[in-house]
Subunit: 201 residues, 2 copies
């Protein structure tokens, strides 16, 4: 039995925080780990900015509802799900992913969660576990699946390594250069062909 693991942001849908920054006009929400390398410091900062701007979870979800998957992503995910099992491994939060999951027809996603108080204010975030993408692939490979994975960034590398076959989809050039062992794809049609070969579909 075959299983495909996929990253979410940058691969099937745009970067969520960037989308929220653009749609709300709050420039500081465009900060990424390139600006603040420590993820925990960055996340605390993001939540601080949300609270300063009185952005509640409902407001953010409404903004995310206006973000669409990339062109062709819905059909590509449909195709994967007809030919293999499919799990999205993402470092986003389930509360943010929810509107996008509806647009992708509710695939399974393993990610993290937010703490939200009764007024809708985001008070904290809960990472489900460290290095969750690698651990998920390891755990499910142990159930005798043949696996393939694709992603675009540093946090996908351990997942790409752990899967039986790993592919880049639209990665930044420096990351692709650093890991030449993973074939680089830049459209779903090419990625589909790699999956067909890797999983003998």
């Amino acid at each position: 039995m075959n299983i495909v693991f996929s990253d979410l942001e940058g691969v099937l849908v745009p970067e969520i925080w960037i989308g929220v920054a653009e749609k709300t006009g709050i420039e500081d929400l465009k900060l990424t780990t390139r600006d603040i390398p420590d993820y925990n410091v960055l996340m605390k900062k993001r939540l601080e900015i949300c609270n300063e701007n009185n952005l509640k979870i409902g407001d953010i979800q409404k903004v995310i509802e206006t973000i669409d998957p990339f062109e062709g992503a819905i059909e590509f995910v449909d195709w994967i799900r007809e030919n293999a099992q499919f799990i999205i491994l993402s470092d986003t939060f389930s509360e943010f992913a929810a509107p996008l999951m509806k647009k992708l027809k509710m695939p399974t996603i393993f990610c993290h969660t937010l703490k939200v108080d009764s007024s809708g204010k985001i008070t904290d975030y809960v990472l489900r576990q460290d290095d969750q993408k690698r651990k998920a692939v390891m755990a499910i490979k142990g159930l005798n699946f043949k696996s393939a994975a694709f992603g675009d960034s540093y946090n996908d590398i351990s997942m790409l390594k752990e899967a039986d076959a790993g592919f880049f989809y639209c990665p930044p050039a420096n990351i692709a250069d650093e890991y030449p062992e993973f074939p680089v794809t830049s459209n779903y049609s090419d990625l589909k062909n790699y999956l067909i070969k890797a999983l003998d579909i």
Copy 2:
């Protein structure tokens, strides 16, 4: 993050082999482990009967396409997927499950596979692993999910035990009596209430 594991046949959809037997009129396909206790002997017999009757994979899938999920099952699965991640753990074969998965809107399913030759004849079956339901729950619990599971039969017991909370759905009376530790439900509304409590939804 919450995850729900579910059995398939007898819980969300009718028993597939019984359905195929009824729709094709081939009475012998109604044999179950109650008639032939050794599963491997039973499966070999079923494939023999299919081949004797010249039933190819495509014919069987067409018959399975006429089987519908139980009343309310589609809406119930929709509800679970809006409130938790959801994986069906079934001892059926992915080729048989496919038409039913479409009707349930393509949830993730971990099951077994068939070997089919180029003419469509089923030549063998491949069990992904022994005790796969328990092993899947164990592996995914290790990824820090809070879990609940429901099923109706002996092959679900290890899954119900391994999950943080386990429930019977319409089990035969003798099985329910043998495992009084699992609450018995007989409609999706009651089962939903148990899931809400168990997972703090």
